[in-house]
């Protein structure tokens, strides 16, 4: 059985387009030269403003700086700087687009975060990555390894300026439980293109949270794969785009082994002229992946005129022997009825708008169980709303 569902809904009624090919046939390679230089019409680049990539995609962006890494890790967690030939690198996945391959070809050394076997980390580990600075370009590589039966929470916090492309690997060993948050809180000038490889061992659990707030252009592509049965991945995302910002999240969950679960929930708000968010949610259930259970959901809230959200869920199912599969996507403008209702109870417009937006994100914020990050996110959402006097 093959079912392909495709839907694109945007606030400005963009045309729905059927993907050119199944995700099963997507090319991947560590070698940048194995990829053609994308022109912008390709399926996986068609939403990205290529000119704003500053040459990351065509080989013209030579490394001219470095990303500074500051670690504040739990005592049980090991943080190392390793050479690019370290044999552990590349274990979680292979770059699937030219910029990821470029980053893989160009990084000098990698940051390796290890949660040892059978270890429960006593606190979240914070890894802060500061951009190379305005006008500079850097390539990087990060790997977070949770060895068998380890449990930990790791936050990757991206701040600062510049142009940055990287691969981030999450290697989750058998029975391990990892919560990771990738926060893109860049300065206004920053361009960040990141492929994130999520590899789950047998009975492993991963909660992968992407929070994108800042930057001129941020494109994060998380791909989840399962090395053994019983894996369970929850992929959450929160994004808030302002005038002129492009925020793109391209997810791919590749179910190739039986008895695994995936649950995707991304919510975004947009405001201001030229604010653009793109959400692609590809889920592939291969013939072997019996008893798969998957659901993905994307919701966008367009707060002002001139902002645009593209949302494309895509579910391919190659076996009928699944537990459940579904997806939903909706993009809506700010609901005047909700505003009217709250105001009719005496609540001033500004506060009513905040209540509605906070309510929109509430469901997902409650799932972010790192209080520092959740509070920072709540504060950031408040600040975004203040900025337009909403």
């Amino acid at each position: 059985m093959t079912v392909t569902n495709d839907a694109a809904r945007t606030a400005e009624a963009a045309e729905a387009t059927i993907p050119a090919a199944s995700r099963a046939e997507r090319f991947a390679s560590y070698d940048v030269e194995a990829f053609e230089v994308p022109g912008g019409r390709e399926e996986n680049w068609r939403f990205t403003p290529m000119k704003r990539l500053r040459g990351l995609h065509d080989g013209s962006a030579a490394a001219s700086g470095e990303v500074k890494v500051d670690a504040d890790a739990a005592p049980e967690v090991r943080v190392e700087n390793v050479a690019r030939d370290d044999e552990r690198l590349g274990e979680a996945g292979v770059p699937s687009d030219r910029i990821a391959a470029q980053a893989y070809s160009a990084f000098d050394s990698a940051t390796l975060v290890t949660v040892p076997k059978d270890t429960v980390a006593s606190a979240p580990s914070l890894i802060r990555l500061t951009g190379p600075g305005e006008g500079k370009t850097a390539y990087g590589h990060v790997q977070v390894r949770a060895e068998a039966f380890a449990q930990a929470t790791v936050v990757l916090d991206h701040v600062g300026s510049g142009t940055y492309a990287d691969n981030v690997e999450f290697v989750i060993g058998d029975g391990a439980q990892l919560t990771v948050l990738s926060v893109q809180d860049w300065a206004d000038d920053a361009v960040h293109v990141s492929e994130q490889h999520l590899r789950l061992g047998r009975d492993a659990r991963l909660k992968h949270v992407v929070v994108t707030l800042g930057g001129d252009l941020v494109r994060v592509s998380p791909t989840a794969t399962f090395a053994g049965p019983g894996g369970d991945v929850e992929m959450l995302g929160v994004h808030f785009a302002d005038a002129g910002q492009h925020q793109e999240h391209r997810l791919f969950v590749d179910h190739a082994v039986p008895h695994c679960k995936s649950n995707v929930l991304y919510k975004g708000a947009l405001q201001g002229d030229g604010a653009h968010s793109v959400w692609i949610g590809d889920v592939l259930i291969r013939a072997a992946a019996e008893a798969t259970e998957t659901f993905e959901l994307n919701r966008n809230l367009v707060l002002t005129e001139g902002a645009r959200a593209d949302s494309v869920p895509n579910l391919e199912i190659e076996t009928g022997e699944i537990t459940g599969a579904g997806h939903a996507s909706a993009t809506g403008r700010f609901d005047d009825e909700q505003l009217f209702y709250l105001q009719s109870r005496g609540i001033a417009e500004e506060q009513a708008r905040r209540l509605v937006v906070r309510g929109f994100f509430h469901e997902i914020l409650m799932k972010i169980d790192v209080p520092e990050v959740r509070e920072r996110l709540e504060a950031a959402i408040e600040a975004e709303l203040q900025a337009v006097g909403a």
Binding site: Q338, I347, L355, F360
Partner: protein, 256 residues
């Protein structure tokens, strides 16, 4: 002692295809202690009247006045109207996902009262009022109206009435969608509020059954965007007997 004066009110509904005149000269004065039933057929403009008073953005007042104790309500924003003492219990209460009922009620009470109610008193007050309306305490943590049945929504509208203590309450088809027991519970709560507060009530309804529980001092027949006949309770009895036929004919002579 308060009064709401509606004078020669004309209003349009704003749609993408252009505006459409709905209210065609409504005149009505409601004073504290009075209950006015507005009865009329579907599509006569009853709900438009309630929305125009509350300030819904889809309705534009083209002429006429609405005065609350002499103050021009039409110049106020929606929230200012509520804080001035006008309350609308809606026919279709709106769902607000992710905002808990308790947060919503407290935000509203804080806005209307001008200061945050003391937490201890507030919790007790809300509990009491919820009890009167047979609302289970678990609703406090649920999102505003989300997944509520029609009857649960209406109970919560009256809960808000009791907590926000308006001078003028407009109840827009509060009885629709209620079963017999729920109708009694909701009516009892409205009557209790009337008995203990200085309030003028505009009770908009399609049916006469709620008038057996909430007794009106005046009954107005609404048709074709205005009040076409006014009287006492006997007018409601007549409507129950004969329906709206004669008024719809009167209001739409073209159809005869």
């Amino acid at each position: 002692m308060s009064s709401l004066e509606i004078k020669d009110l004309h209003a349009e509904v704003v749609t993408d295809e252009g505006n459409k005149q709905i209210l065609k000269g409504v005149n009505l004065t409601i004073r504290s202690g009075e209950t006015h039933a507005i009865m009329g057929p579907n599509g006569s403009g009853k709900s438009t009247l309630s929305y125009a008073i509350a300030g819904h953005p889809k309705y534009a007042v083209t002429s006429g006045e609405v005065l609350l104790d002499g103050e021009n309500v039409l110049e106020m924003s929606v929230d200012e109207r509520a804080r001035a003492g006008v309350f609308l219990a809606m026919q279709y209460p709106v769902e607000v996902p992710g905002v808990s009922m308790s947060n919503f009620l407290r935000s509203a009470a804080t806005a209307v009262r001008g200061e945050a109610p003391k937490l201890r008193h507030w919790v007790k007050e809300v509990k009491e009022e919820m009890g009167k309306l047979d609302i289970s305490s678990e609703f406090a943590e649920r999102s505003v109206n989300e997944g509520f049945s029609g009857g649960e929504k209406k109970r919560h509208e009256i809960l808000q009435l009791a907590l926000l203590k308006p001078k003028i309450a407009v109840l827009d088809e509060t009885d629709s969608g209620l079963d017999v027991d729920a109708l009694r519970v909701v009516s009892d709560a409205v009557n209790e509020y009337k008995a203990n507060n200085e309030v003028g009530v505009m009770l908009i309804t399609h049916y006469t059954r709620i008038l057996k529980h909430i007794h009106p001092d005046f009954v107005h027949v609404f048709a074709g965007g205005r009040i076409v006949e006014s009287g006492g309770k006997e007018l409601a009895d007549e409507l129950e007997e004969n329906g709206y036929v004669k008024y719809t004919d009167k209001a739409e002579p073209a159809k005869v």
